[in-house]
């Protein structure tokens, strides 16, 4: 490490996704793209930028505003030997096309006894914080993760984004690839700088379904995904000032869910805070807490969740910012746990 300085190459998640897709498209002729404004425009969120220029309109296909049709078509193409990567521009739009996703894409493998595979990736943007209102700011993690037959993954940094996208494209199963707008590295959406990390030029996979210990610690486990991981990391640094050692776990994947990683960490720390920008009830935070409760791990204090309240996402900044998960809420949750211990 002291010799020649390794060439650092920091990428945004948007660029890391585009790079992975491009590399797979070069290697595998069956990989192609469909979605709205992914062609010449390069995707509203930048994750298909450059692909139209390199691969042309036959492999990078702008669609009509017909999500049911083009996601249904992706199922048909995937079952016939192709590997479509399709974009649902905002995850919030799933309501117009979820049948194609959850009843066909996710179940056809099972219905065919494994004889028809549906190797496709559905990438979709999540998250709020920039006042886009209640139909353009949701995360909907649990909405997808609750229903069987699809893998559901979501990176928190560019390295994972590239490796997980590569793994997703190569996976013989359907994969929902969620990217959080605030981590995307598009200036106009605000940018979480810590999501922009060094990414190798060569191809590599980050296996789907394996959580990452993003920061080691001994006093409390903070579990999150996408934006939640960054809130967790910042909170951990603040807690460190107070002499508290927080472990931060990045789930990276909701399906499959790396329950072992959660249990292992909580066994060590005895304290759990789960952070999620998706709605509070019937969501990821409950699943993680239930997993720990079922395992009967002795806890020093009741676990806490920091999630989006059960309200439609308000437009106005004071309300929206107040409702979002935050470093302060994580610290408060920790303090609440300490009080409960007294």
């Amino acid at each position: 490490m002291t010799q020649v300085k390794a060439k650092e190459r920091k990428l945004t998640i948007a660029r890391a996704m585009a790079e992975s897709i491009a590399m797979e498209m070069r290697e595998d002729e069956t990989v192609f793209l469909m979605g709205e404004d992914i062609g010449e425009l390069g995707g509203v969120f930048g994750n298909t930028r450059g692909l139209y220029k390199e691969f042309g309109p036959d492999r990078v296909k702008d669609t009509p505003i017909s999500e049911t049709a083009f996601i249904g078509a992706a199922v048909g193409a995937a079952s016939d030997g192709m590997k479509p990567v399709v974009e649902l521009m905002f995850v919030d739009f799933f309501g117009v096309c979820f049948d194609a996703i959850y009843n066909m894409m996710a179940k056809n493998t099972y219905f065919s006894g494994g004889e028809v595979n549906v190797p496709m990736v559905l990438m979709t943007s999540t998250g709020g914080g920039y006042s886009d209102g209640g139909q353009h700011s949701q995360c909907l993690h649990a909405t997808f993760a609750h229903l069987p037959g699809m893998k559901v993954v979501a990176p928190s940094n560019a390295y994972d984004a590239k490796g997980m996208m590569t793994a997703a494209i190569r996976d013989p199963n359907p994969v929902i690839f969620m990217f959080h707008k605030a981590l995307q590295g598009m200036g106009w959406l605000g940018t979480e700088k810590e999501a922009i990390v060094d990414v190798p030029e060569q191809t590599f996979e980050v296996p789907l379904g394996v959580a990452a210990v993003t920061r080691e610690g001994t006093d409390v486990t903070i579990v999150g995904i996408t934006s939640g991981v960054h809130h967790g990391l910042k909170a951990a640094r603040e807690l460190e000032q107070e002499g508290v050692s927080a472990e931060v776990l990045d789930l990276r994947s909701l399906v499959p869910l790396d329950r072992e990683a959660v249990l292992k960490s909580v066994k060590k720390t005895g304290r759990l805070i789960v952070v999620d920008e998706d709605y509070h009830s019937y969501g990821m935070t409950a699943e993680i807490i239930a997993t720990v409760a079922e395992a009967g791990i002795p806890m020093k204090a009741p676990p806490q969740r920091v999630a989006y309240p059960d309200i439609p996402i308000p437009f106005t900044p004071p309300m929206e910012q107040w409702a979002l998960p935050s470093v302060e809420k994580i610290i408060q949750a920790f303090e609440k746990m300490k009080e409960a211990e007294v």
Binding site: D58, S66, T68, A69, G72, V75, D80, M82, S112, E115
Partner: protein, 328 residues
Amino acid sequence: MTPTQEQEIWMYQHMVISRFFEESIEKIYMEGKTPAFNMAKGPIPGEMHLSNGQEPCAVGVCAHLNKDDIVVSTHRPHHVAIAKGVDLMRMTAEIFGKKTGLSGGRGGHMHIFDANVNFSCSGIIGESVGVAAGAALSRKMQGKPGVAVAYLGEGAANQGAFHEALNLASVWKLPVVFVIEDNAWGISVSKQASTAVKHNSDRAAAYSMPGIHISDNDPIQIFEKAGEAINRARNGEGPTLIEIETSRLAGHFMGDAEAYRPAGEKEHLVEIDPIPAFKRRLQKLYQWTEQRDESLRKQARETVEAAIKYARDSDYPAPEEALEKVFV
């Protein structure tokens, strides 16, 4: 485009097999379900949508298809599956929920997948059209031969998916044919009460594609029109919409009391049953003797019975196998 004698007999044969099949399923379905009808009971539990009367839609189209072509059918799939050459043994075993079924019993009668002949179907109205368009896109992109055919009911033509997929198929000029089996009913709701247009084929203009209306449940007419549409698709000239006025001889599903049918409708449909009509045609054109007919029927019956025996004799899967094949 007229069928050869051989093709006509193939069509007749597959209509007969299909009808025997449905009649057998109908009987077996009721086993264990009397005196009190309970869907969960008997060797064939669950919903059962029979295709009696709609056989011409299956054979008239599929006569033009080979194994490589793709067919995506509906919740009422048996006749089409049979015409497309789906493995009847494994399909029957699937309907019985057996280990030897096409999916090992996971799918059932509304989820028949046979990858060997590129057949699939699905239980939600309007699902077929997008999938078929996508398969057609796949062939076009890969430069591989093969066209795709989507079947749907006339009721499904009021589902948004129909509109989106037809537009997409036209914009991308995909090798796909959309075949509406207009049996006049969506469960208990008539086409007239639910559809703003008399013929769904007129809706083809909304997608700048040819729209063909076939008012007779006649395999020959269907063969001719479908042949043209499939040729157009094979030649890269884009999609076609076909609507066939056909007959639903049975209830929507087994157990349907059909009180909503106007008096006399059922009797009329039985009178114009396409299978006896086609037999008369063969008799007129091709010296189709009772003897030849009996021999074809016997073969058909044997084919169906062999499939049913296979299904009956097969074992059920182990319960825990339910956990397999979610992912591959």
